[in-house]
């Protein structure tokens, strides 16, 4: 029987249970609150054109960057009025999903 087996622990509303844990369960990532000042790539792609620079004051809706992804030239726009604090990518650079592109202040 399974009594010799070393089990992991899983905490549920109805108490703590012993059981085998799955790879998917172990790979869960804790929730991270999204910072609206950090603009990340929503899809992987290539930086086609940077339209802003560090220190520049920008208006909501202004295009900051063109990200070519999935055969589309995607416009990355400013979510609100702000100043550009940092740009983490260069023209022509390939970016992965979730990679930080621009930080606003």
């Amino acid at each position: 029987m399974s009594e010799q087996e070393k089990f992991g622990q899983i905490a549920l509303e109805n108490g703590l249970f012993e059981a085998r844990l799955t790879k998917k369960f172990a790979a869960r990532k804790p929730f991270e609150k999204k910072d609206p000042r950090v603009i990340k790539a929503l899809i992987p792609g290539t930086v086609a054109e940077l339209r802003t620079e560090v220190g520049k004051t920008i208006k909501e809706g202004e295009t900051l960057m063109i990200l070519e992804a999935m055969k589309m030239l995607n416009q990355i726009k400013a979510p609100f009025d702000a100043t550009v604090k940092a740009i983490s990518v260069a023209n022509g650079e390939k970016v992965t999903k979730g990679q930080v592109l621009i930080e606003l202040a």
């Binding site: 509303e13 012993e18 085998r20 844990l21």
Partner: protein, 514 residues
């Protein structure tokens, strides 16, 4: 041409066509560790039962020099045969002919046997081994895929549909298997993905091997697109033969009732069951102690192993078995397990297969990942599938049946026909710890020693509510039974529900929480 010449000419034509891409290509296929399309059909079907159609079909592409090329049987072998004496329609893509690429006539051969299977009411088995669309045929190739997908959908719930992935199956081609009932994969041979590793790399800069992206194990274990995983093609064919044995030919029939056998393992159920309801045990041992000959064919064994689904027989009759698996993740319902259970229940309902549900559920898996990925709508699938099912539904509550999980796991409230509970069952709105913390919160807080008080109150709640008798007193449990009586009770319930009829309000179809 004389009579004899005509006959000789016929045999020579037939043998050339039957060679597919030719000796060289066939040896290359074998060198890659793969069987040829014809070998596969011969190995899967009963000896000598295969009858081929449309060997002489030719493609009609005129572009890119294709008019000069002859593609034997247009890269797919189609026909019918038997498995265990039961009729099936089958097609197998031949990778040695233009990479098994799908053109219009190739697709027409497939849809022809599919139409045949639907009309005659027999399972359709598709063996996939193809590089994808035949680019030279352009939009006609896409039309071919579309015609197949449409028929997959029409055939759904009418005849069992089985897909076998024995090579690449990429791009749009993956959607035919995805629309079928059971997908079989073989380690190191099956590859399924929408976009391959090269595209993923050039477009996205993400480096991943073909195996890690869409290999057999990934599809069976992580993605859940595959239902059966085998280490070799022969093992895979054995699994298919076993599965077909459990199924009816179509939704117009019930599965054949075969000679009944006692369970092979005479487990003493009370010995399998741990003393404490929190200690895990393998629910499949209980299944094997209930079903004929202890034969249990697990479906999606590797995916969401916190729930089990599969086929067995009780007194010779096929049943679909669903259970919570305390051994893995305490048997919680999460997104994957909900998906697995709901899909299986709907398959069984479509094909007149009674459902036996073994309940041992501590609740739903908490966490932001689950909530944000939509555990609410995925969990709803289980409620929907069980409520919708009008086949005989028999539920046995082994241990825990708490809260929403109790309702979802085919309770009387979702119209189970019989609900049995073991004396070890704990049917309650919450587990004792959770409940005590809420009901006795003020007493616990006010106590000099809150931990002691909590323990006391947990015990108080456990003694009073963590049993089958509260639910039985309300008639939500039909009988509290001794574990060793389970097979007899389930068998009796199956006999009593054989002519079950349940009328539902008329509708085109419901809106299942996909």
């Amino acid at each position: 041409m004389s009579f004899m010449q005509r006959i000789i000419d016929f045999f020579s034509k037939k043998s050339t066509k039957s060679l597919g891409g030719g000796e060289k290509a066939l040896s290359k296929q074998k060198a890659g560790g793969k069987m040829t399309a014809r070998e596969r059909i011969a190995a899967l079907l009963d000896d000598g039962s295969f009858h081929e159609y449309d060997l002489f079909v030719e493609h009609n592409c005129k572009d890119f020099g294709m008019h000069e090329k002859e593609l034997a049987a247009d890269g797919v072998i189609t026909g019918s045969g038997t498995i265990g004496g039961r009729p099936v329609c089958i097609y197998a893509q031949d990778f040695t002919v233009a990479g098994g690429s799908l053109g219009l006539m190739h697709a027409r051969k497939i849809t022809k046997v599919m139409d045949h299977a639907i009309k005659m009411g027999m399972p359709i088995i598709g063996i996939n081994d193809s590089g994808g669309a035949r680019i030279q045929e352009g939009v006609n190739s896409l039309a071919g895929y579309g015609e197949i997908f449409y028929r997959n959908t029409l055939a759904s719930g009418v005849v069992p549909q089985i897909s076998v992935i024995l090579g690449p199956c990429a791009g749009g081609a993956v959607y035919s298997p995805a629309l079928t009932d059971f997908v079989f994969v073989v380690d190191n041979i099956s590859k399924m993905f929408i976009t391959g590793p090269e595209v993923v790399k050039t477009v996205l800069g993400e480096e991943i091997s073909m195996e890690d992206l869409g290999g057999a194990r990934v599809q069976a274990e992580t993605a859940g697109n595959a239902h059966f995983f085998a280490n070799s093609e022969m093992e895979c064919f054995e699994q298919i033969r076993q599965l077909v044995g459990f199924l009816p030919d179509s939704n117009r029939n019930k599965a054949a009732i075969i000679e009944q056998k006692k369970p092979k393992h005479s487990y003493k159920i009370e010995e399998l069951l741990p003393k404490d309801s929190k200690i895990p045990f393998d629910v499949r041992d209980i299944v094997r102690s209930l079903v004929d000959d202890s034969e249990f064919l697990e479906v999606q064994e590797l995916f969401a192993p916190n729930a089990i689904t599969g086929f067995g027989r009780i007194n010779g009759e096929t049943v679909g078995i669903v259970g919570n698996q305390a051994l893995v993740l305490a048997g919680v319902l999460d997104i994957d397990a909900s998906d697995k259970i709901a899909r299986f229940v709907r398959f069984c309902d479509s094909f007149n297969i009674p459902l036996v549900t073994l309940v041992d559920i501590p609740g739903y898996l908490p966490g932001s990942d689950q909530e944000h990925a939509g555990v609410i709508r995925h969990g709803a699938k289980v409620l929907y599938a069980y409520s919708e099912a009008s086949v005989p539904k028999i539920t046995v509550i082994l241990r825990k049946a708490y809260g929403g999980g109790y309702i979802a796991m085919c309770s009387h409230h979702l119209r189970a026909d019989f609900v049995f509970a073991w004396p070890t069952a704990e049917i309650a709105v919450m587990g004792p710890e959770g409940a005590a913390n809420i009901i006795f919160r003020s007493e616990i807080m006010a106590a000099e020693n809150p931990d002691e008080m909590r323990k006391l109150k947990v015990k108080e709640y456990t003694d009073k509510f963590a049993n089958p008798y509260v639910a039985a007193s309300a008639g939500y449990v039909d009988a509290v039974i001794a574990p060793e009586e389970t097979r007899a009770y389930v068998a009796h319930a199956l006999q009593m529900t054989r002519n079950k009829e349940e009328l539902r309000p008329a509708r085109k179809h419901g809106v299942a929480p996909f």
